[in-house]
């Protein structure tokens, strides 16, 4: 079999604003089926005419560019190919097809503290890690004090790494990552490290680097909070292709919504359903991504096969916070007897912050006992996205209610 490869070139052209250029990039892996990892297995496979591996296409023709000063977020579910993409950018994997051009000095952090050895001292580990990232000892000398200071480990550097707490180790590794002098930083989900004080420091650092127009950052993350906070651009990768390449807001919303649709919880404790209620349908008539002024409209229809009086129970369930936001029902407009029933429901959601909401619908009899319900995995989901946040810090997503109330300040 012929091995053809794509290319990855490193250039140094300060006049060009494009620091990363990816063109038609594809990558597949050969996943060995059972025994082909041993010589015996390979020979057997050869004799039987079996290939011995399965080809898995991980990236399918990606195209994008990163400009100098960008803070690009790459998001996607597990196994979507984002880490593979990062490894190709970093030069760890070879592109199978297509062209990758890196303009400038790229420092990859696929993992923090690569090559860290517990038997070496903190200082020795810093220099070893530095040499792996391509820095000379002289360059490391220049960065060393800053790294140690940022990690707040001045008193520990001559101790062996095995005597560091795990938090200290991570702090040291992270400090190398962000104090390393490179043009392009490539980071793989390494933001949530250290205690709260350290987090704040990192936060400040990233806000600073965001404004620095000479530094480019590519960040793979699962945290939409990080994407919204730091990135000026984002890419959503799904199943090896770019689904959206756009503003962090769009990408983060899309990602949250997708996940919300995919993961529906509480499948347990399902009540018994009545066989006399059939064809329950719940349809979302309005937008899937309403803002606080849009009307959320639902149409619920079902068929009653016996003489039961029924009404609709409705819950708006906050998927991320895992709690009900609102319960309501149509008990005051009870449906009598058999036949097809169609009920519509309309509301605005002016009070709450951005949320991913699932609409749970149940059909109950006049005593309030559930006869049937619409399954979670089919229930419509709504991604409420307000457009009246004055700025990003105004938006406290862990709170349910949109900010309200007046402060009255009296100064003497």
């Amino acid at each position: 079999m012929k091995n053809t490869f794509g290319t990855r070139t490193e250039i140094n052209n300060p006049n060009s604003d494009t620091v990363i250029k990816v063109k038609d990039l594809s990558k597949s892996f050969k996943l060995p089926t059972d025994h082909s990892n041993s010589l015996k297995g390979s020979i057997f496979n050869l004799l039987r005419g079996v290939k011995g591996y399965k080809k898995q296409q991980v990236l399918k023709g990606l195209d994008f560019e990163v400009k100098r000063g960008d803070f690009l977020g790459i998001v996607g579910r597990n196994g979507s190919g984002k880490s593979t993409l990062l490894k190709i950018l970093a030069g760890v994997y070879y592109p199978e097809q297509g062209k990758v051009t890196i303009n400038g000095n790229l420092i990859p952090f696929i993992e923090l503290g690569v090559g860290f050895n517990p038997e070496l001292t903190g200082r020795e580990n810093v220099y070893l890690n530095g040499s792996l990232l391509g820095f000379s000892n002289k360059e490391m000398d220049a960065m060393y004090d800053e790294i140690v200071k940022f990690a707040e480990l001045e008193d520990f550097m001559d101790q062996k790494l095995k005597n560091f707490s795990s938090g200290m180790q991570v702090r040291l590794a992270f400090s190398i990552a962000i104090k390393a002098k490179g043009d392009i930083l490539v980071l793989d989900e390494i933001l949530a490290v250290g205690d709260e004080a350290f987090q704040t420091k990192c936060n400040q650092f990233f806000n600073k680097i965001k404004k620095d127009k000479t530094k480019t950052v590519v960040l793979v993350t699962h945290s939409m909070e990080n994407v919204r906070q730091y990135c000026n651009r984002a890419i959503l990768i799904d199943n090896g292709t770019i689904k959206i390449n756009g503003s962090p807001k769009d990408v983060a919303n899309m990602y949250s919504l997708e996940n919300a649709e995919r993961y529906s919880d509480n499948k347990k404790d399902r009540p018994k359903t009545s066989e006399f209620i059939k064809d329950l349908k719940v349809k979302l008539l309005g937008s899937k991504q309403p803002n606080q002024k849009d009307l959320v409209e639902l149409e619920i229809s079902y068929n009653v096969l016996n003489d039961t009086d029924t009404f609709v129970g409705l819950t708006l369930w906050d998927i991320n916070r895992g709690q009900a936001i609102m319960n309501s029902n149509s008990k005051h407009k009870i449906c009598t007897g058999r036949g097809k029933k169609t009920i519509t429901f309309k509301t605005e959601l002016p009070e709450i912050n951005d949320s991913n909401i699932r609409v749970n619908v149940s059909i109950r009899n006049q005593d309030g006992i559930i006869l049937t319900y619409f399954p979670d995995e089919k229930s419509p989901t709504i991604a409420l996205r307000r457009d009246d946040y004055k700025d990003i810090s105004n938006k406290t997503t862990d709170a349910i209610l949109f900010r309200r109330g007046d402060f009255n300040v009296k100064e003497n």
């Binding site: 091995n3 990855r8 690569v114 040499s131 391509g134």
Partner: protein
């Protein structure tokens, strides 16, 4: 546009990049780490670098020189034996560390891009350092034993470089295969055992020659035998039988060196070709 493709960090062994500054620093850091960690946590520490071959020598000396009475016809036989075992341990350590290097350093290869040959070279350099320490011991023993210093001592480094080139070639070739087929480590262990008896370390070549001259000549065509005998010849006694004084055909005399060159060059090409996918396979 200043377009300078930096292949050095991705493809390996592009000659100008082998010894560029980045790679030199990385090589020395990795070697230092290897050496520091080798004897970490042992009471005698670096002393083991000396003690191990000396102990092996003691065993071989008792069994072969004292019990089986080999080498009665060779002057300074104990030192002659020690030199042989020292060079042999260098070869075995060098190759087994080199072959396993890619797997041992798998975590680095999977996460960072750097020329892969550095991993192999750094693993073998530890063996080189150990060998130099041991060679000093050999020289001290030789002087105690009454060996006269000679100008031919200056030729010893050439033989060592030759053997190192062979070890490196084997490490590149088998190391690259070992990334995918871990059987290589076990197969090489067996090869080492077989080679140990195929090379005149514990027995003198004269013993073989006395029953079959042809067999002795074939033994001496092995590059390992050639280098070990050369080192003994130049360091200990000029009475040592070597490829040069035992084989008359000029082409055959140079065959061991030719074998080494062919192995090193083809292994380097193979390693370079395979190194693109090491990160995925390891």
């Amino acid at each position: 546009m200043t377009k300078t493709p930096v292949h050095g960090r991705i493809t390996t062994m592009n000659i100008p990049h082998i010894f560029n500054k980045k790679n030199r620093v990385l090589l020395s850091e990795l070697t230092k780490t290897d050496f520091k960690l080798r004897y970490q946590g042992s009471v005698l520490g670096y002393l083991w670098a000396l003690l191990r071959p000396l102990m092996m020598f003691a065993i071989l000396y008792i069994v072969f020189a004292k019990l089986l009475r080999f080498g009665n016809d060779i002057p300074h036989y104990p030192v002659y034996l020690l030199a042989g075992t020292t060079i042999w341990s260098f070869f075995t350590e060098c190759t087994s560390q080199g072959i396993q290097a890619m797997v041992v350093r798998g975590d680095l290869i999977r996460k960072i891009s750097f020329p892969k040959y550095i991993v192999v070279v750094s693993a073998t350099l530890t063996a080189v350092i150990n060998m130099i320490i041991n060679l000093i011991v050999v020289i001290i023993f030789a002087l105690i034993n009454g060996v006269e210093p000679s100008w031919t001592w200056l030729l010893v480094p050439f033989s060592l470089i030759e053997l190192y080139a062979l070890s490196l070639g084997i490490s590149f070739l088998l190391g690259a295969i070992n990334v995918k087929y871990r059987d290589i480590t076990s197969i090489w262990d067996v090869c080492i055992q077989a080679l140990f008896y195929a090379v005149p370390i514990i027995y003198p070549v004269s013993m073989v020659a006395s029953s079959s001259v042809l067999a002795a000549r074939i033994i001496l065509l092995n590059p390992i035998a050639q280098t070990i005998q050369d080192i003994r010849h130049n360091l200990i006694t000029h009475e040592t039988i070597t490829t040069w004084n035992f084989i008359d055909n000029h082409f055959l005399q140079f065959l061991p060196i030719l074998i080494i060159i062919i192995i090193l060059i083809s292994a380097s090409f193979y390693f370079r070709k395979k190194s693109k996918t090491f990160a995925e396979d390891v």
